[in-house]
Subunit: 457 residues, 2 copies
């Protein structure tokens, strides 16, 4: 441990910012399983991926060999507007808890998208622009990804068509307006602007939509409109690659002060944040240079890691996307209405799934009300109002810090604070009013969904 | 000009952060006029102020002599959680505009209160705690101040009672929930919990409230409840003192790179942000060490500086507070329903009023729709979604930068970006839908309000 005094916020200098993303796959002993063509069940080739995704992003998706991929200068310049994000030493929280633990959190909420999503959105928009495209399509649920992509497209003068799950579109009108401020076209999904949307509306009049349906609509528009491609904010290898900026900055900041964490904790939905945060730590662990505990935290209502199956599954409920091998609850899984919209995906990043299967990381599922209790406890001391998603990591970080009070151990805890909760106040209100429930799917329910897995090995 | 490369964001190191606030009054040749007792019209003494405000804050209010007042360590530690705020070089905006101007903005929105208000809230809460008080009361309109105070009280375990203008309470339920997350008691004003509230409700059933009424209720509760005091987020000398942290950091960051601004621009409501931002620059200007243009920007719908009278007036519409000499539109002035809730105050900080009267600063009033156009133009390039209040400064900064395109002058423009607009999306929505109006009070309307001034000299 260094004798240098550790400040409340460790910022990297601009020249210390990473110039390349770290591609953890290059160092993984067991590579993540490839995406399979939904018809042939053969690995997807570059040619098959290219009509859907940008060319350069397809290459990144398939690249399991290069450990570092240079960040283009235009992206680095954009990063400089809101990065490096601070690594914050939670001195106030430690004092309030009376814990000997040392708590650090990497705060990704200090940008208008309100989360880490911008790290990949700007990269994907950049490559779309480089390819000479006119625009991109995507879906959004909670709205953080849609906001991030809107900001990025506005920066590069790209059209941005966002299909927003209808229930969110109606319940989160402010999110919609933020996207419109950045010039995005936001359509509630299912809509009558696509064939798949019309079909779904015919079959289920009055449906309030789902992420799976919105994905299908976005893919349809991307593949049927000249000059358009589809982009996705999580799960994919390329997204985890871009998000490695979080972990690289975190590790660089810790290294500056010779701090070695005992554990790294992150919330896990599709895995974009967790995969990025842990990347360089996991790399060191795989190489045997260090031994960190790495902990994924997920909601009990959507327990992909802790109760899912590791199997090939559809990435979307519309079953038009490639099959991915991942911890999954089944592509038809409908999570109970919890309030962490970003953690309601039925599957999990193939990279993280492989690491978890290899025993290189732990996972824990937590109930919603305890997550909001932790969020409020944190907010009142550290000031920041956390997103419900991020608060899953807070919950376990607090638990670990409290354990240290009993054991007297001075553990160093690092967790990812992915974003802010300004657009989640309906959820906080329910919590304050004592009308928030905890949902846990029964084994019988899960078995029903598992029965629909297309390729159980 | 230094040859050092200027980064996108200039952060001070923790040890470079100011250890004392700067009290501009000590260097003013013409001191701001004292507050007068509403009954006797004599200057308010410490004894007369103390039942309403915390003891130490009363002293700061009356202190026109000490140029520096030490920031207590507890407050400095809290500041370290979210400060120093970045001074951002708007490279992307400059490039997009094609201007030779160099644009810098001090961004105060990177904390959960969403604005600079936290700088004074934490100080006022600290002194309340030091005095052994049980709690504080306040009013809030747009909600930034109420949020900041809630956060600060939660940090120091103080009770916090917020009277929120009823129309905001109903239209901004999320703001209310943020305050509740920090443990504040939020009451829609006028309420039946106070005598003045009951009277107003009797006289005007169905009223949606006003800032003036909320102030009166907050003062009543503070002065009638043992262990409570009233706190205010703008206008007062003490608030400008605390907010000097903005200007001190800005100047220190510029000095690090030998940058001398040609102009410093800030939005002006009650003056808390503007007074803090310009303090050290104005100090240099008064001493003759530099000659900056200093520009206040206000809404055309509430033009205190540009069309108000410099006269003694009531600080609240309930006329229970001391009289302050300031540029005012009359304490009965009801601003048209513009969307910059923080810029709807009828008066202006006595310090800034005196400086403006002395010809040391300029003021300009801008129409609302142009402000939102500027906000959107800025957001699409610099990413940050600005508050409507802050966007007044953006509007003039953009105008000045565009002038430089024509003249070819490489002017250095510094402006204050006081906060984020996440809770103002209703206003953005109106703007997007083309249903936003510009309001300009007529001369006849203003004359009607001027006629109510209590002490025109």
């Amino acid at each position: 441990m260094s004798t240098k005094e550790i400040p409340y916020k460790i910022y990297l200098e601009e020249h210390e910012m990473p110039k390349a993303w770290y591609n953890l796959r290059a160092d993984m002993v067991n590579k993540p399983a490839p995406l399979l063509h939904p018809g042939t069940h053969q690995p997807m080739s570059l040619e098959e991926l290219s009509p859907v995704f940008c060319e350069e992003l397809c290459k990144q998706e398939l690249n399991n060999t290069d450990p570092y991929i240079e960040i283009p200068e235009e992206i680095r310049n954009f990063y400089k507007m809101y990065r490096p994000s601070p690594l914050i030493r939670a001195y106030c929280l430690e004092e309030k808890l009376g814990t000997p633990a040392k708590i650090y959190y990497k705060f990704e909420g200090n940008n208008t998208s309100g989360s880490h999503k911008l790290n990949s959105a700007i990269a994907q928009a950049y490559y779309a622009k480089q390819q000479g495209l006119k625009g991109v399509t995507t879906e959004t649920g909670a709205g953080q990804w849609g906001t991030a992509l809107s900001m990025s497209c506005s920066y590069f003068d790209l059209d941005c068509k966002v299909f927003m799950v209808k229930v969110s579109y109606e319940q989160k009108p402010f999110r919609r307006e933020v996207m419109r401020t950045y010039g995005a076209e936001v359509t509630p999904s299912p809509s009558t602007t696509t064939e798949i949307g019309k079909k779904i509306l015919e079959a289920h009049p009055g449906t309030t939509g789902s992420l799976g349906c919105a994905i299908s609509e976005a893919v349809e528009v991307a593949t049927s409109t000249p000059g358009y491609r589809y982009v996705l904010g999580s799960v994919l290898n390329q997204v985890l690659l871009h998000q490695s900026i979080i972990g690289l900055e975190t590790k660089a900041a810790l290294d500056k002060y010779d701090i070695v964490p005992d554990m790294v904790i992150g919330c896990a939905g599709g895995g974009s944040n967790l995969g990025g945060l842990i990347a360089p730590f996991m790399g060191e662990k795989i190489k045997g240079n260090a031994d960190y505990r790495i902990i994924a935290v997920e909601p009990q209502s959507c327990p992909s890691f802790t109760r899912g199956k590791y199997a090939y599954d559809f990435a979307d409920t519309g079953m038009v996307c490639p099959l991915a091998k991942m911890y999954t609850l089944g592509s038809n899984f409908i999570p109970a209405p919890n309030h962490a919209g970003g953690l309601r995906y039925h599957g999990m990043s193939p990279v993280l799934s492989q690491l978890y299967d290899d025993g290189l990381m732990e996972a824990v599922a937590v109930p919603q009300t305890e997550v909001f209790q932790a969020a409020e406890e944190f907010a009142r001391v550290e000031g920041i109002l956390p997103a419900p998603e991020s608060s899953h990591a807070i919950k376990i970080a607090l638990d670990e810090a409290k354990k240290c009070i009993e054991t007297g151990e001075e553990k160093t805890i690092v967790f990812g604070l992915t974003g802010t909760g300004y657009f989640d106040m309906v959820a906080y209100e329910k919590f304050h009013n004592g009308v928030m429930d905890d949902y846990i799917p029964t084994d019988a329910e899960l078995e029903k969904y598992f029965a629909t897995l297309p390729l159980v090995e």
